[in-house]
Symmetry: C2
Subunit: 417 residues, 2 copies
Amino acid sequence: MLTKKPVTGMRDMMPDEMEVRNYVLNTIRDVYTGYGFIQIETPVCEHLSNLMSKQGGDNEKLIFKILKRGKKLHLDTAETEEDVSDMGLRYDLTVPLCRYYSAHKEELPSPFKALQTGPVWRADRPQKGRFRQFVQYDIDILGEPSEIAEIELILAMTDVLDKLTFKDFTIRINDRRLLFAMAEYAGFPEDEYESVLITLDKMDKIGMDGVLAEWREKGYADSSIELFSNLLAQITRDQAGIEICRKALTGILDPAVCDSLNKIISVVGQVSRAKVDLVFDPTLVRGMGYYTGTIFEIAMSEAEVSVGGGGRYDKMVGKFTGQDVPACGFSIGFERIMMVLMEKGFVPPDQRMKKALLLDKKLDTEALIKVFGEAQEERSSGKTVNITNMKKNKRFQMETLSEQGYTDIQDIYSKGE
Amino acid sequence: MLTKKPVTGMRDMMPDEMEVRNYVLNTIRDVYTGYGFIQIETPVCEHLSNLMSKQGGDNEKLIFKILKRGKKLHLDTAETEEDVSDMGLRYDLTVPLCRYYSAHKEELPSPFKALQTGPVWRADRPQKGRFRQFVQYDIDILGEPSEIAEIELILAMTDVLDKLTFKDFTIRINDRRLLFAMAEYAGFPEDEYESVLITLDKMDKIGMDGVLAEWREKGYADSSIELFSNLLAQITRDQAGIEICRKALTGILDPAVCDSLNKIISVVGQVSRAKVDLVFDPTLVRGMGYYTGTIFEIAMSEAEVSVGGGGRYDKMVGKFTGQDVPACGFSIGFERIMMVLMEKGFVPPDQRMKKALLLDKKLDTEALIKVFGEAQEERSSGKTVNITNMKKNKRFQMETLSEQGYTDIQDIYSKGE
């Protein structure tokens, strides 16, 4: 007997959920198209060497690798996974986007406002609500160095959440350059900045005390730890906090970083039609190693965790072409949004009229021509018409159709009866 | 430097093509939904044991296999591909559908009219117009033994082709049971029927003379070859041909097969709004091993090859559950249809109004709030508004935007100028 269950950690989509997924995918595309984003697609398989180029952080440990084929596979002499594999399933859409842009940039508009959606794979330990195949929905702007990119991305995503009837969401924003300036100001060793920030990133989970304890464990100077935490304590989570940073970090931090953060917060705060709370958060780090500037993350009161995030990664295209290109992107946590919507019992609007015809099995060809002919007319006017044979347990059949939203159910008997 | 090209045999989708693909995908879904098909989805990864269960014919040789992970992988002792791999990328949507149906049938309507689309993978030798990742679009009816299933499937697909502005297509229809009856009538050895038909399937490529020669090479009796080819010569490609089979194969062929073919041809011929030529073709075999009854295939004058096909496979669900379930499906050749549309220069209807705003870089926050605020209004009324910084070579920038369909391009200068 063959195996009925899907493979470990991946799931089958039931029709009810698919209907909501389609609605959400179309809504997102519709909103993003309104901002001039254009859709592209890359293969789900990517060169293993691209996937393992240290752009993906911890995700590089979670790659599903694909076996080499034919004469390229030598199992007898194989020692490492790279000996038997040359491709992997993508773990995000950003690395493939930069490859794509590098290959096709002459044919693409500048700036290039890309829209992408599709599944990605991570061989995570399976757990509730977390799957090894999941959909991402990304927008990215390549070739735009100014904060217009950030404003467009953040406005577009608030618009999406608004259209999906979400209320009360908070966007936290920060800049990697500000974080590095804080580490420099505190006098941490330069080659430890990354490590200092990786600890800071755990704030949500272990609290400020936990962060301090981990810094001490790592053996950093008490003076540095004190300088950093004192500065952090002074910074308010608003535009005034940005000015505090500007002053405290004079000579270390490029003031353009502060100007840019101010502009983004002011414009989005004034313009977004969604009720969005856009706050400056000097503790926001975001794990992925590739960010170089602004970073942002959305949380909703309805979801326990972040439902999306992004930032600027000006150094990734250069890994493909040798020439850096300013880039900024935002990835929506599609599966998390779906989870909240399904738990809410969300029903997509504008369902079509559904009619079912239950046929007597004795209908002759002439009668069938009539039934199918009339159904074709109604279908072409936008109605769903489901033609099926009448079952012995017609009552149960009708109940089931009713549950599926069929409001008009008709029996078609042969003339003789 | 990282690799810019996509992996061998797979391709990047450019924005123009993506727009057409989206339109076609939505059109197909819209039509199929009108017939009461409901969408589901399965993971792209499938148990290798399911994929290699002899349901997939030659496709089983073309599977992309996924490397085992962690403690399950023992490269040092590995001898076969199955030692190092337990999953593969699906090569079609039918095997996963039967797994899905077996796992969830209690929660699904009966009959279950399934709609599925998504990429599938085959490690074919790369060649023009043929890719290793490609999209399939399938409809299947599970649990319906009568020809209502065939009629609904064929009507739905003719409707799709009609909506996509295709004219002049031919559907050939046959039944596996009729083919086996012909082989029995001619007196071929029973365990050679499959092989006899595999040769007949090459008719399109090698002609009747080629088929006869190959049968002789295989060492079949001259009397069998003569009986088969004489019968074939008598059978006209129309409903009269079905009656010739009924008479010639009396006692061998169940007459219900002829009744069913007649009903399908009559109803579809009368009802379809598309100009479809539905012909009985006693030489149609279709390669895949799993078909058990009706088989059909569409060709269009605009494409050199078949653009879709399907048939009845009543024995596949039983491989998962031990209990056979009547099943009939149709798979549209999505990539071939796309190729024809792109060659025709097809443009999707109903494009939205596109406006571009070119911003002076000196705009202050107040001016940006005004610009983005007004854009939000226009976006919410369905317009695309693309906001971008003005470039030094503004003339070129405007030309490019114009090529992308921006009919309204405005400069926004700061007040000072």
